[in-house]
């Protein structure tokens, strides 16, 4: 399977990754050869086979809807790269009206 730098760029955008020109070229060739090796899966017929998402059967797990203490706000906000008065600071999301 040939992965072009254009496909790499599209996937990088979906992945929220800024890539350099050099990274785009490297990933295009590496992903191509990895996917070429992975293409051996096509030799194995899987029609009608149930997909497995978990090896050990899991079902919904419920708990009583009770309020329990959570981490203190200060401890959580203290982890943020930038914070102000108990809030996490991020760049402006909405454009300001002129």
């Amino acid at each position: 399977m040939r992965i072009t730098p254009e496909v790499v760029e599209r996937v990088a955008r979906l992945s929220r990754l800024e890539l350099t020109e050099e990274e785009r070229a490297t990933f295009a060739s590496q992903l191509s050869s990895i996917l070429e090796y992975f293409a051996r899966l096509d030799r194995l017929p899987t029609e009608g086979v149930e997909p497995t998402s978990h090896a050990i059967r899991v079902t919904n797990v419920f708990r009583p809807d009770q309020v329990v203490p959570s981490l203190p706000v200060e401890a959580v906000v203290a982890m943020a790269p930038q914070a102000h008065e108990g809030f996490v600071v991020v760049p402006r999301v909405l454009e300001a009206e002129e």
Binding site: S15, L17, L31, E50, A55, P81
Partner: protein, 488 residues
């Protein structure tokens, strides 16, 4: 107190508080870290002061003749993708370099409650993605047996620490072999429990349907002791299974007479080093000599397991790692003025090349037009791999295979070709796809490098796996070998 280092905990425990104090045991390990870690580089963080304080507390309890918990004074290391309250947890990544968790992972908390003393946090491939610890965002760890060789990965720091006497036991995580493969390469014991046996709460997520936490240790009994302490249901992890935890220590000595051991022929084909093959087949003969019934079995999907694993693991990783966006914790790129650039630049600067490669691979496999052909296909093949194991376990009780196709490789030898690196896990990966318990125990040497025997059991039959491993170990001397670095 140097003679305390490199001895299994179960040998030291009866002497604790009589021949030496917890403080002396912990100090002996801290001194050995001081002496050797400049060469081995197993640790990202050493928590010496906390360790000494905790040791003192245990000695005080000893002095008051209080009963001590099962792992009292065991000096342990924890892989740096497990959250430790107040102790930096980097996951081997620049993007989490500043991260100090406000809580302990359940496995860490249980170790602490069992009396184990945390010495520090060990190096790993970034986000546990790798098989050599060379993908760490900080530095490479060395194999204590030969410093120009890799320790394996991704729990390379934990395996190297145990092998070099820089920790008596350690926790690792295993998504595709990340406990067993480094255990094999470093000549120690490493166990991946059944998926769901140990809570993953506080383990930084890589591939959530495959990740599992487990112990690395000098021998099988210590491994069982640590597993016993960390196992069991946890309401914080809804995939941890609410089943009773059997006493895996008590059943160790039950022997293997009449037990059926399966040898899957596909694991002895092309790509296996002849020296490794010989050591593993010799180990199977030892089990036969102990009364086990050996028979050949088939796992024909083995050659499909590797691509299946990488598609599933990368798809899950691409989703799990979406949380590293520079907003609430971890690294943030300076100078981004809009949200998209903040995300994309933070991730570009914070992640290393292998993590980016896997996020890209996973995003691709999940993207429109490719989902059916890649991700769904992989999930279907996963079903076939599981059925292969089910068929084997109708005939036999455990499977015996090599852990790694080679005894080891040099630093830099495989970094240029990602696919060559992926092949390092070819024998461990199917076990994760099927969620089974697997252990690696030392079974010989090739050119002075340790070789590992992998034993795999039915779901939640850790006790059987450990019992077979113990019988093998007691019949051989491999687990008593220590690396020249530690002896010197």
């Amino acid at each position: 107190m140097k003679e305390l280092v490199g001895r299994p905990y179960h040998e030291l425990r009866p002497r604790l508080g009589k021949d030496f104090s917890v403080r002396e045991l912990v100090d002996a390990y801290l001194e050995n870290i001081e002496r050797l870690d400049g060469q081995v580089r197993a640790y990202l963080t050493v928590t010496a002061d906390r360790a000494r304080a905790q040791a003192q507390e245990l000695d005080d309890r000893l002095a008051r003749r209080e009963p001590l918990p099962p792992l009292a004074g065991m000096p342990v290391a924890v892989k740096d993708n497990l959250c430790t309250r107040g102790v930096r947890t980097t996951c081997g990544s620049r993007i989490l370099e500043p991260f100090v968790p406000p809580y302990d992972a359940t496995a860490v908390q249980r170790l602490r409650e069992a009396g184990a003393v945390l010495l520090g946090k060990t190096n790993l491939d970034e986000f546990a993605m790798g098989s050599s610890t060379e993908n760490s965002g900080f530095f490479s760890t060395r194999n204590p047996w030969r410093l120009d060789h890799v320790p394996g990965g991704s729990s390379g720091g934990s395996a190297a620490a145990v092998a070099a006497g820089e920790a008596l036991a350690a926790l690792g995580s295993d998504t595709g072999g990340s406990i067993r493969q480094p255990a094999s390469l470093c000549g120690v014991v490493g166990l991946k429990p059944t998926y769901g046996r140990v809570s993953r709460y506080g383990l930084v997520a890589f591939a959530s349907s495959l990740d599992q936490i487990g112990p690395l240790s000098l021998d099988v009994r210590d491994c069982a002791l640590v597993l016993q302490a960390i196992s069991g249901h946890d309401p914080h992890d809804s995939t941890s299974v609410d089943l009773p935890v059997p006493d895996v220590v008590a059943s160790l000595e039950a022997g293997v007479r009449g037990l059926r051991v399966g040898v899957p022929v596909e694991f002895f084909g092309e790509g296996l080093h002849p020296g490794v093959r010989q050591a593993v087949l010799e180990a199977v003969r030892v089990l036969e000599g102990l009364g086990a019934r050996v028979e050949e079995v088939a796992l024909p999907t083995l050659e499909y397991a590797l691509p299946t694993y990488y598609l599933i693991a990368c798809a899950e990783a691409s989703s799990n790692l979406a949380r590293y966006d520079g907003v609430a914790y971890g690294y943030r790129s300076p100078g981004a003025h809009d949200l998209y650039t903040l995300y994309a630049r933070t991730r570009a600067e914070g992640f290393g090349p292998e993590v980016k490669r896997r996020i890209m691979l996973g995003t691709f496999a999940l993207s429109e037009g490719y989902y059916e052909g890649f991700y769904k296909k992989a999930q279907q093949v996963r079903t076939l791999v599981r059925r292969d194991f089910d068929r084997c376990f109708q005939r036999v009780d455990v499977l015996a295979t090599p852990t790694s196709p080679v005894a080891g490789f040099r630093l830099g030898e495989r970094t240029a070709d990602p696919l060559q690196m992926y092949l390092a896990d070819v024998y461990t990966i199917p076990v994760n796809l099927a969620g089974l318990p697997g252990i690696s125990v030392p079974c010989g040497f090739v050119d002075g490098l340790p070789v590992g025997l992998q034993l795999v059991g039915r779901p939640f039959e850790e006790a059987t796996v450990l019992r077979v491993a113990y019988a093998y170990e007691q019949a051989t001397e491999w687990h008593r070998h220590r690396c020249p670095l530690l002896r010197g």
